[in-house]
């Protein structure tokens, strides 16, 4: 396998990758610090709808860049790339399913905790449902 690039081009690829990864990381940390109110007093960004999606998107971009350029998968045959990338799609299911599951544990636990707080009340015998004497018959079986 011959090489097709000059030293200058190789260094160019390395420097470009370094700058891109560094800038993306700085943006992520910057969003975390500004968004959580560490830089500007009293200023925060909405976490769930803005910060989280942006940071996940930037991380995925970094992952794509490392795999495609640094690990050279973009230049391998399509079949090879597919045999590595396609199994990764299982993560879509796994992440959805297990985060859902985690939330469900949380709900169940909170339900149990709330019920425990209520305490046990003494259950009084419900006399209206049972006819004990002949005299009660009238009151219990009234159809009015």
């Amino acid at each position: 396998m011959g090489h097709h690039t000059t030293v200058k081009e190789d260094v160019g690829i390395a420097v470009k990758g370094f700058i891109i990864l560094l800038i993306v990381t700085f943006i992520e940390v910057g969003i975390a610090l500004v968004g959580n109110g560490h830089i500007i007093e009293g200023f925060k960004l909405p976490k769930l709808i803005l910060m989280v999606p942006i940071m996940i998107a930037f991380s995925l971009y970094k992952a794509y860049y490392i795999v495609s350029i640094f690990m050279h998968l973009g230049h391998e045959t399509k079949g090879m790339a597919a045999s590595i990338v396609l199994p990764m799609l299982l993560f879509i299911w796994a992440i959805t399913a297990f985060l859902w599951e985690g939330k469900s544990w949380n709900n169940n636990q909170n339900y149990v905790n709330d019920k425990n707080k209520e305490g046990v009340k003494e259950v009084k015998e419900n006399k209206t449902s049972m006819i004990q004497t002949k005299d009660q018959m009238k009151t219990v079986l009234s159809f009015s």
Binding site: D10, F26, E28, A32, I66, F70, S83, P87, G102, N106
Partner: protein, 327 residues
């Protein structure tokens, strides 16, 4: 049929390196996906390793979703060496920077390997080894600080965030409340620190921060992060007492135990990968130096494989960084 075959051969005669005809394919010596066995297997190992790390990080996600409260990363990771404090995420950003630099230097080693430039390969591999070693040293410092200074272990997590509003009590206020409730006053042996014990055996301390000072803000808000101070005189944790808005006196609750366990397990597993990579790169640098790869005549393929492994370690860090430090 014969006609078709002829056309196909003619088409591909121009570009022989890209397509292999049936005759050549069955003649042997053709690699699937036009990648060597070793490189392909390295990729499939990395795929399986991705699922291992993925499984750990998904476990982290599921457990985090199952808790009502979770430690706040910018509060937990705010210390750095040389006495730097209140600098959220700065140290870990430096660690990430080191890993990015080492990823780029290993890329240079792979490029020089393809050029069969022995001295270039050795130089860039050794630089990458230094990068890996710096990363490991940083992680060692981070762990030491978390374990011995802040008291987070695999079993105990003193970091958490408040889930109700209230106010920390000064010692005088706490004593007043304790007298009304009839709590016992106790003293740390050999030290002038008092605390109170309620009927169920829970301990209530005056809230102190790292530097044994009262916290800057006595008000407790929703999601305010806190650390239960580990008292080195006492050899135990000293949960600060606070009064909720409804007038109840409570002691700080420990955070989810799984935070410490997951943190040490996942960053430890990643650190183990970094350590292995450093060892592999040292071996490969030595083998480059003694001419093993020149004798193999395969264009320094081993350097390419360790390059893949090292980039993968950087790739995993992207997601460890996301899960533990950013979100």
């Amino acid at each position: 049929m014969a006609n078709e075959t002829v056309i196909e051969t003619q088409e591909h005669a121009h570009d022989h390196s890209h397509e292999v005809n049936d005759k050549e394919l069955w003649g042997g010596g053709v690699e699937p996906f036009r990648a060597s066995y070793g490189k392909l297997m390295m990729w499939y190992f990395l795929l399986s390793d991705a699922f291992t790390f993925g499984g750990f990080l998904i476990a982290y996600g599921a457990l985090r979703f199952s808790m009502n409260t979770w430690p706040v990363p910018d509060f937990v990771f705010q210390t750095a060496p040389f006495g730097i404090d209140h600098a959220p995420l700065i140290f870990v950003t430096f660690m990430t920077f080191v890993l990015i630099v080492s990823s780029v230097t290993v890329l240079r080693a792979v490029q020089e390997g393809k050029r069969e430039n022995k001295s270039g390969v050795i130089r860039w591999l050794i630089i990458t080894v230094f990068g890996g070693a710096i990363f490991l040293a940083c992680q060692a410092w981070e762990w030491t600080n978390l374990i011995s200074t802040e008291g987070m272990t695999v079993y105990t997590n003193p970091f958490s965030a408040h889930i109700e509003k209230g106010k920390y009590l000064t010692f005088a206020e706490l004593e007043k409340e304790a007298n009304v409730k009839g709590w016992k006053k106790e003293k740390i042996a050999g030290h002038e620190t008092f605390y109170f014990v309620d009927n169920e055996g829970n301990k209530y301390f005056e809230k102190k921060d790292h530097h044994d000072q009262l916290p800057k803000k006595m008000e407790v808000d929703l999601a305010t992060p806190y650390l239960i101070t580990f008292s080195h005189h006492f050899h135990d944790y000293a949960p600060g007492a606070y009064k909720t808005e409804s007038g109840e006196v409570k002691a700080e609750q420990y955070g989810p135990k799984s935070f410490g366990t997951l943190f040490f397990f996942i960053t430890g597993f990643h650190g183990f990968h970094v350590f292995s990579g450093v060892v592999f790169m040292l071996i490969i640098a030595i083998q480059s130096w003694n001419g093993t790869y020149v004798a193999r005549k395969n264009g320094y393929e081993m350097v390419e494989k360790v390059g893949l492994y090292w980039h993968f370690v950087d790739l995993v860090w992207v997601f460890v960084f996301l899960a533990f430090y950013l979100l």
